[in-house]
Amino acid sequence: MKGYLCLQDGTTFEGKASQHFDRNVQGEVVFFTGMTGYQEVLTDPSYKGQIVVFTYPLIGNYGVNNEDGESQEIQVSGVIMYQCAEIPSHFQARKSLGAFLNEQNIPYMTEVDTREVTKAIRAEGTQQAALSLETDYLFQPTKTHQIEQVSGEKIDTYGEEGMHVILIDFGWKKSILNALLERGVRVSVLPFSKIEMLDALQPDAIVLSNGPGDPKDTVDVLPLLKKALEKFPAFGICMGHQVIALAFGGDTTKLTFGHRGANHPVKDVVSGKVFLSSQNHNYVVKEDSLNGTPLVPRFYNVNDGSIEGLMHDTKLIMSAQFHPEAHPGPKDAEWLFDHFLTLVKNKGVKTHVS
């Protein structure tokens, strides 16, 4: 059966429709250039509601396993591929990617020239798109506040002992929790709507998670958040990084087509070193908006010079626009967790070298 990917600018791409293509699906269309890591991408809450295009043509080769999901379910609304391996080959594989998507009623399309789709997105920027059996799809007004769809309701605690870290949930990835647990701390996941409980919990530090959509969707909690940031050492990742900037009076803006993939070089101005990072964001902190705030850029993107991370000039607050927890992608920035937790332990030490 033929299916179509219809972009809002009118471009359509034909492909082979999957089993659950019976309803139209609309979402923001984004591309991912990593050659591995499809399971992590599909289950990452930051991709909530998006239609993901995999540029690498052979997807699903190693199937889907019980270990590499970033959340309990598939978060994306639709998937575009060239090939989706029917018979996976890996000792951990429990099912094929196609079966996994079908089980959760996620429509997908194969035999699409994903390179052409990528070029269309590159040229016209991130936009709404739809998976449909027809070429004349009528676009609906877009949904906002994706964070609310992925952030939990209750507080869960993981780990037995060690420092107590609160992971503020804007749509957290399992790997952030794992990265913290592996370093011997106790972690409580706190929905962002319950930030007022921070005082009562008295954590040693807070980590602000990744999340989908526009960081300005958090505008209501920013004053509370700022108070918390002034009290507790904090580390923001992706959405968490943007929210920290907003809380201190900075501003964010939308990139033409975002940064996604596993090969984004980031330069650390403190060490002068460059490392590769895993990224997934549409929004970015505006550098000039930081004037007059206590935040200073620490990381820059080597390709486009955009801000990739911040530090506070007096407090133990740091942030990364990329994903130091990896999954998918390189683990070159994992040291940031060690760095942050060490600083928390030796409280009072400044985070930067100036």
Partner: protein, 1000 residues
């Protein structure tokens, strides 16, 4: 500050060290020049592009030994040494120069990775220690220096065990020991092969997945992984002999990142500055992995990774060695991103090795830890099926019929891939094949898809859907026609009717994330076209020569690249098509656009149509390119040079002899035979020995001298249909000479004559040769006259090679090659005459007056010599004959022939001085020992035996196995003795260097 940098090349092409180092070296030298350095290059491989003055300022074709390099360093006084581009040869020399204090004495800075780090990476024991320090798992192993130690180890861990001699290239001297009986011979060979008499014995982890990473690192500690690759063949087959896929296909992100992180840890600890290859073995049932080895330099794998991704590793490695950091260097493909980024592929790449077994039917085809391939091809597509098929099409060889398929699976051979297809066709289950081979089921599924499609083609009507499907999976029109039983024309027509067209896509390092400025293109049927034809008034397509193999080496890449450069100078837009990832011609910076594709009629015509090419050049890509000329002409393609009727008249012996008769030129007469019976009948007219030569072959493949009827019968048995007509010639004794000339249809330019040292009957590619020749003026005149007659008779335009036999006073024509030959780079460099440029100008109708070019003046004599990779093919008798056996060639220059010869043989001891260093069969002057006893002597080095009995053959093989230099022709040994008359030698650069050199 301008620095003078000494670059060491990798020397002649050998198995394990091929054209990839010409590619890396050329890129490196150009990068040095871009940074304002003066480049002094030492490389005794004349067939390379890097030994051209466009690439290096001063070029020394001198021996790659410490002695010779020290002399050059004393003469040139360079500021720095770059050794990371010349393979194991250069790296070993750098280590030795350091050890002998030469670097210190001349205050020579070693650029890039330090000697200390190189040793840590290359010395097996130091490396193992380092891995333990870093908690990186390595297979249980032990460094041994005696056979007894190896036995103890095998006892402890159990068989099989792997033997890896330290500091060797291409796994030289190594192998797998399956049984105690095999241990002694293999370990003894290994100890001898290792320059430090050290072998690591290792528990076998055969069956694990083999994964490689190509890492770049700068002095600031920034690391990137340019590419990872997965071997189709599990651990147990040398990676150079493995089919390799990029990127990895069966690794989860977790696996991928685990190994990438491990690679970074190792490369950082070693403080590598430049490129480094890290090889891993990964269990198929757990996440257990082992580090197999690292290569702290650019390598065959890095050349492959560069071509697979578009990331120019050698260029960046050179700049990093000069002190740049990766984030300071722009990525030239995008012109937007920086070198500190990791390529993302949106296609898949398959590398397939090219083995020499079509030339050595007697060789053992088993593959193991010792590399045996002479070259490789690469293919790009958007499906793995397509990439596999394009790779096989690029091999340019006939796949032999598979007789006993399981034999190729029991122990892997070069035919395993084809045997698997064969078994799948017969309905064998994938699971059984997996059990036997441990090849990942994912890859076997791809092969199964191909076999299923073959079946469909055979059984079902060729409708639109099926046709589209098989084109996406890489079937050629010819194969489709063959399988579905309709004509190729009909397949073509249906494709056009259905609109199933070959489309072209870009290799851009970034999966279309950024706009790229690249000119690197591949074709596919999966997806739409995104490549517009290049703009240009005059557009030329140059056909490359495909994989490096015996008889068709890097010299043909030289011609192709020179042709491109010449055309560009004359204002042409140039387009290259080739499939060899090791070469300069497939560097996307060489031509204005590169099509990385099989050299095949269907693809060439689609490129010509797509680009609207004005002229197709078939004479600069060896036999591969010229063999296509007739087919292309039949398709109406615009070929440069003479028509295929002329080519045919030169290659078809009957027509050629008729012409020679008309011209009154003597030739060694022969009979053309179209069948086996014809040949046997014709042989009755001759007195043996007879020379038996098949048609349309490379490097005298299948060519033999037969002594009697039985031998003739046997050799005809081995010839296949493609080789007919077969020509039987009287085998005439004499001296062989050859010329390379350029003609414009009327006039010709002939720089000088090449004179072979070994007598006729030895393939020209395997003989040593003098240039210019020492022939008398009379003979020279006769030869030139014959050349002139041939050229004007055929109104020949372009470049041509003619071979002659001199017997007594008479000059006979042996054969004509209407294309650039193997010796073109030698003639061009020694005579300092740009032969290819002249030929291209004639062909592209540029005004060039061949008669006005002065004859070259020679103040040096060059000696060209063949290099045999006998260490990789120890079971093959390397007796010289009409079938070419050498994998590469070297060249040295001298004021006298003696001096040049002295340089050629400088790695050998003086047989007059060192007792027992030579053993001459039937002559006890040099050694009076018994042969077997002599072999065991430490001094034993040169074995001379020109006999043709099976015992002689056995002894030569024995000597090769023991690491001896074997001379199988008296003339070669005499040349060696002649070289001993020269006591010392002085390095001398090639003529024509940019700077008036330090000549002493």
């Amino acid at each position: 500050m301008s620095r003078k940098v000494l670059v060491i090349g990798s020397g002649p092409i050998m198995i394990g060290q091929a054209a990839e180092f010409d590619y890396s070296g050329t890129q490196g030298c150009l990068a040095l020049k871009e940074e304002g350095c003066e480049v002094v290059l030492v490389n005794n491989n004349p067939a390379t592009i890097m030994t051209d003055h466009d690439v290096a300022d001063v070029v020394y074709c001198e021996p790659l030994t410490v002695e010779s390099l020290t002399k050059i360093i004393a003469l040139e006084k360079p500021d720095a040494l770059l050794a990371g581009l010349g393979g194991q040869t250069a790296l070993n020399l750098a280590v030795e120069l350091e050890r002998e204090g030469v670097l210190q004495e001349y205050d020579l800075e070693l650029l890039g990775t330090s000697v200390h780090s190189i040793q840590k990476g290359e010395d097996r024991e130091l490396f193992r220690g380092l891995m333990h320090e870093l908690s990186q798992p390595v297979p249980e192993s032990e460094v041994i220096t005696t056979i007894e130690q190896a036995e103890d180890f095998a006892e402890k861990v159990g068989y099989p065990i792997i033997s890896r001699p330290a500091y060797t290239l291409g796994g030289r001297g190594g192998g797998i020991v399956h049984r105690p009986e095999e241990l002694e011979e293999l370990i003894a060979t290994g100890l001898k092969a290792s320059p430090i008499r050290q072998v690591i014995v290792e528990k076998s982890i055969a069956g694990f997945k083999e994964i490689e990473y190509e890492i770049m690192r700068d002095h600031n500690g920034t690391c990137i992984s340019v590419c990872n690759m997965e071997n189709f063949d599990p651990v147990g087959v040398h990676t150079g002999d493995s089919i390799v896929v990029a990127p990895s296909q069966t690794l989860s992100d977790n696996d991928y990142q685990m190994l990438r992180t491990a690679a970074f840890k190792i490369v950082s600890e070693l403080d590598v500055i430049g490129g480094c290859n890290v090889q891993f073995a990964l269990d198929t049932e757990s996440r257990q992995y082992y580090v197999i080895e690292i290569n702290p330099r650019v390598s065959r794998s890095s050349a492959l990774a560069s071509k697979a991704t578009g990331y120019p590793i050698a260029k960046m490695a050179t700049k990093v060695a000069l002190g740049y950091t990766l984030d300071q260097l722009e990525n030239p493909l995008t012109g937007y991103t920086y070198a500190s980024f990791e390529p993302a592929l949106d296609y898949v790449v398959v590398k397939f090795p090219r083995w020499p077994f079509d030339k050595f039917s007697e060789a053992d085809r088993k593959l193991g830890t010792k590399m045996r391939a002479t070259g490789e091809v690469m293919a790009i597509d958007r499906t793995l099926e397509g990439a596999f098929q394009k790779a096989v099409q690029s091999l340019d060889t006939k796949i032999p019929d598979i007789q006993n398929p399981w034999h190729h699976l029991d122990k892997p051979t070069d035919l395993r891939y084809f045997a698997i297809l064969h078994l799948l066709r017969k309905g064998e289950s994938l699971e059984t094949i997996h059990e036997k081979t441990k090849i990942d089921r994912f890859f076997l599924h791809v092969l199964k898809n191909l076999v299923d499609l073959e079946k469909c083609l055979h059984q079902e009507p060729l409708d639109e859907e099926l046709l589209r499907q098989v084109k996406i999976c890489g079937f050629s029109d010819q194969e489709i026609a063959h399988l579905s039983g309709i004509s190729e024309k009909e397949v073509q027509k249906r494709r056009e009717d259905f609109g199933i067209l070959r489309h072209f896509k870009l290799v851009d390092t970034c999966a279309a994330e950024f706009e790229a400025a690249t000119n690197y293109v591949y074709s596919t049927f999966a997806g739409v076209n995104e490549i517009s034809p290049l703009r240009g008034k005059k557009k030329a397509l140059i056909l490359g020569s495909g994989p490096i193999r015996i008889g068709q080496g890097v010299e043909f890449d030289y011609s192709a690249v020179k042709a491109i450069q010449s055309l560009q100078k004359q204002g042409w837009t140039t387009i290259m098509v080739n499939n060899n990832p090791e070469t300069v011609s497939t560097d996307y910076e060489t031509a204005d656009r590169l099509y990385f594709e099989p050299i095949q009629k269907e693809i060439i015509t689609s490129i010509v149509d797509h680009e609207d090419i004005d002229l197709v050049f078939t004479s600069f890509g060896g036999q591969t390119a010229i063999n296509l000329a007739a087919d292309l002409e039949a398709e109406g393609m615009p070929l440069a040079g003479v028509g295929t009727d002329v080519l045919d008249a030169l290659e078809d012996r009957d027509k050629f002899y008729t012409a020679l008769n008309d011209l009154n030129i003597p030739y060694v007469s022969g009979t053309t035979c179209h069948t086996k019976n014809e040949a046997l009948k014709a042989a009755e007219q001759y007195t043996f020995p007879i020379l038996c030569r098949p048609s349309y072959v490379i490097g005298g493949q299948g060519m033999v001298i037969v002594k009697d009827m039985n031998e003739l019968k046997q050799s005809l048995q081995e010839a296949d249909d493609r080789h007919y007509p077969i020509v039987l010639d009287t085998f005439m004794q004499g001296k062989e000479v050859e010329v390379d000339l350029v003609a414009d249809g009327e006039n010709l330019y002939l720089p000088e004559i090449i004179e072979h040292i070994e007598p006729g009957g030895v393939h020209s590619g395997d003989s040593m040769a003098l240039f210019p020749s020492k022939l008398g003026d009379e003979v020279k005149k006769t030869i030139e006259m014959y050349c002139y007659k041939i050229v004007s008779h055929f109104s020949y335009k372009g470049i041509m090679n003619i071979q002659f036999l001199l017997s007594g006073e008479a000059v006979y024509v042996l054969e004509v090659n209407p294309r650039a030959s193997r010796t073109v780079p030698i003639v061009s460099k020694v005579a300092d005459i740009p032969l290819v440029d002249l030929a291209v100008r004639v062909l592209a109708s540029d005004e060039v007056d061949l008669t006005s070019i002065p004859k070259p003046v020679f103040d040096q004599t060059a000696v060209k010599y063949p290099v045999f990779s006998s260490y990789a093919l120890t079971e093959v008798d390397h007796k010289l004959g009409p079938n070419m056996k050498s994998t590469g060639e070297g060249m040295c220059l001298g004021k006298t022939t003696e001096e040049a010869l002295r340089k050629v043989f400088s790695h050998l001891p003086n047989g007059h001085v060192v007792r027992d260093s030579c053993f001459v069969e039937g002559d006890s002057t040099f050694s009076s020992k018994d042969f077997d006893e002599w072999l065991k002597l430490e001094e034993a080095s040169i074995y001379v035996n020109d006999g043709s009995s099976s015992e002689d053959s056995e002894r030569r093989i024995q000597a090769v196995k023991n690491g001896m230099t074997v001379f199988s022709e008296k003339a070669t040994f005499e040349a060696y003795l002649q070289s001993l008359n020269c006591k010392d030698f002085v390095p001398a650069p090639l003529p024509g260097n940019k700077r008036e050199g330090v000549r002493s």
